[in-house]
Point group: D2
Chain length 304, copies 4
């Protein structure tokens, strides 16, 4: 299917529309981004790819990195990881501590901050140089050796990271963080600081649309079963307490970041990345969700 | 695809396996069911159908009815219904009142008891004879005119229905129930009391696998968009606080009932009904979930 | 000590002051009360008594009755009652259901609605004619044979009693209500419907200031230990989630009702009743709390 | 009144009784204390004083220090402090984070950890050398210049302080901590590390029984109104989610620490300190609560 006409048409239409969203402000560096940026890029399993708007401009991946750190951990440790965290939607905001109190330090799923911190802790325990090795994994799965952390963003996030520091220490108080909390937080802030364009992002996540085979050489990165399960987790947990909304309106597994990016996966078909920095009240990109809803409506294709 | 060999093989294997599940006891009549019952029936969009075990024996549909009352309401009122309830996973048990307190009487979704009570209230407000007309709808969508309520089950449920009475009055205290609470509860208990076999159940739900066209004459029951959205809601909310687990293990939208039945939908392919009365701790049929996990693993087909 | 000058002075001053409070509206009959009513009456352990303003006019006792039903139950059953409910401040509003879910149907204390319903249930189980016998107890402790229920108020409360119906059924679902919920609710609404003047109210509660000996003949109604414990419960739980505030500002055990009345006890010294129907946001009489704060400040007498 | 016979008698009796309590273990140094220690000391407003058992041995004051830091802050800032925290019982455990999420970083009261951290933050903002000046205040109010911090205990607490670190960062994320979280935590751990004997403790707190006038020279440390309010806060909030229980059983304002100490105040009469390191499930000294319950029962004196 040629997605180009639909993408172009929706891009033009939505570029003009009112956008009630607001820039994330609690990470100082993110507040400097041009709020009018808007990029889209799709890559399909047959190797076709198409982008428009600011699709070549790098932005901060933020929470989308949670899927990548989960993939690496799942690949290395298999089902063992589920003794440390769950895979249920939380019903609460991305940074909620409430659930951890009743669940004694076991995060509901790997796509909320608490769960991603536990995932980072697991990686620190099994890797010699977690920072390097995670970056290598992202470069390999994407086939893009230039992908890198942003020290500037990571530093900015750390300087304002009181809530994540609270989360990490709270989980540690229940014994579910093994390593030093500073080390876990530094690694976590690094993973979130990766800078990437829509084109690179859709290419990076193509393996989740392609049964585990990455773009380019088709190398199997995860088993088919693991890929299906990660897609399932994205479907039920990828948008915090708006995950039901994304399933309802868009009908694809996906993950958002407060940098304004969203990646969505149509298993067997394509991966699509959309970026627009203005966020809705739940912390998801207003325009990216709008675009994806209209995209799956127009193409009449979703997983449901 | 011929599902018969996989179904037969899994049926034989699981029939023998240990089952740690337990019969639901809080509705007296349900405690009388033979806990060893086990039936499976699949119906595909091409009209093929296959069943095994106790697939022709009727059981109590219970919460699976929530999807049918949602369908009728959605058909009659469209998107207006979402001012009265949401479509987010609740993160809590099927009968939790906690969420209603913070959300001022707006249930999280239509597949928990609170939401289904609001759906029943909406139907009472728009139908002349809700009990009759709901039954007609189920008979039409299934093509089975003999489907009926069980007065015995409905009466049994009512006699022990303190929690549902609490829920209904609690929602009414926030003004989100328009009709008399007794009337809403009676109608709700009736919908749950429908008795149906696996064969009938998979036939009834085929329209959700078939873009809204019902089994037999292919009549369009809901729009394609409505069908996709109902499937999305089943995926994120169909199994209470085990919805993430069902997505992770099985990878299909579905709905369970405490009668031990589960319906699952593979959009574009089939609907499958499994029945085994022993429930796990979350109130979902232990064996039916096991079967469906192994079924989608063997066929390597899920929506993810 | 002659309290008359302080009372008169404060009455005049506060009668003029702005009152941001609002009439309770959810019980229809209470919305008809003149919001400007303001009465005060004090009775001391030496038999002196003094009142001003509308201190002879009857008003609806509402939740103040919870202390009286607790007294009767405590007298009849002793410490056994504490297996059915606690004596801890709830930290939540008077009608909250949340706490009951985590505590499996055991109310935090007898002065919130949930706890008072359990107290009513206990009385129904041990009395032949709970309605009559409770009224007799109130008449005896007060020495006022004309005190009576208001059918009008009880009926009005019942007609709007969705939240209390929810609470009672919710507790019953955990097995902590033994009797029929309708019967428990009817009895509860009756206890709340008692009409009483400030003068009668301060006389009724004098026994709690007087080591258990009632006004008039000094008959011992409860043991000294029971009286101290009921005063302690009033201190920590008497004003819902504003109990800390009343202790902080007034420094006396007491109990409020949404009819606008407050009774406060100075053990060994006096009981004082204040009535003004406008309530603050927590459901306690704005003016009555103001009066009592200034009264204990002026007299420099509180229990602390 | 001569309290000596009652104290001696109860000491002998309870020294023999079974004690199901357990030593606090989460601060490593506290786990080394002899669990059989048992000391009592009373000081009355007339200058009489009497002690028994291990009443001259120093123990770790822990959370009892929260009252002293509150006193100093209240003295210096007056009612302004209540914009930063409340004075309501929390209804939850001493270290709960849940409440802070719904209350946006405003602790319920100054006697739970969250509130004490805010109090420490306020002191850091207004004092040049908070560590020194707080110690001076404690020395002055007690008249005991040798009272000091324990570096050993403070260090031990810091090494295991994940939960307090979580709390402090969580409050800071809402903007209700002004200073560096490390500095606030260090000061907080120091205040908790003060070592003191029962004799010294009852002498230190005498001013709260004596209208603000300290032991010895009778110097006014706080206004009468402030003293009454601090006693009220101790009454409703001094024992975490067991505050109602202490009011019910003992009937005096007080405060416990996980070092096993409890201070209780009878306004106008005496202050009494009891120490026994074995704690009940709520974190309060089992034996000290038992002693105080029997003490106020025998003397028939409580504030209620």
């Amino acid at each position: 299917m040629n997605y180009r006409p639909v993408i172009d048409d929706l891009y033009r239409k939505l570029k003009m529309a009112d956008n009630p969203g607001r820039l994330a402000t609690y990470i100082p560096e993110l507040a400097n981004v041009d709020p009018e940026k808007f990029g889209i890029h799709i890559t399909d399993v047959n190797g076709n790819s198409y982008g428009t708007g600011d699709c070549l401009e790098k932005f901060s991946i933020q929470s989308i990195a949670k899927v990548l750190s989960l993939c690496l951990t799942y690949k290395l440790k298999g089902e063992d990881i589920w003794s440390r965290l769950g895979y249920e939607p939380s019903g609460t905001a991305f940074n909620s501590l409430v659930q951890l109190e009743s669940d004694r330090g076991i995060p509901k799923n790997p796509l909320i901050n608490a769960g991603a911190l536990v995932i980072c802790d697991i990686l620190i325990s099994i890797l010699n140089n977690p920072g390097e090795e995670f970056l290598e994994f992202v470069r390999e799965v994407s086939g893009i050796p230039s992908i890198n952390y942003s020290e500037r963003i990571a530093g900015s996030e750390k300087s304002a990271g009181y809530l994540n520091t609270a989360l990490c220490n709270f989980i540690k108080s229940f014994g579910n963080i093994e390593n030093d909390t500073e080390e876990v937080l530094d690694f976590y802030f690094n993973t979130c600081s990766i800078e990437i364009s829509c084109k690179e992002l859709s290419q990076t996540f193509l393996f989740l649309a392609n049964g585990g085979r990455k773009a380019g050489d088709g190398k199997q990165m995860l088993t088919l079963s693991q890929v299906k399960r990660i897609n399932a987790i994205m479907q039920t947990c990828g948008f915090y307490d708006e995950s039901g909304d994304f399933a309802f309106r868009v009908g694809l597994p996906g993950k958002s970041g407060i940098g304004g990016g969203i990646i969505a996966i149509h298993p067997g078909k394509y991966s699509i990345a959309v970026w627009s920095p203005r966020l809705n009240k739940k912390g998801n990109s207003y325009l990216a969700v709008e675009f994806l809803e209209q995209f799956t409506t127009r193409t009449q294709l979703s997983i449901f």
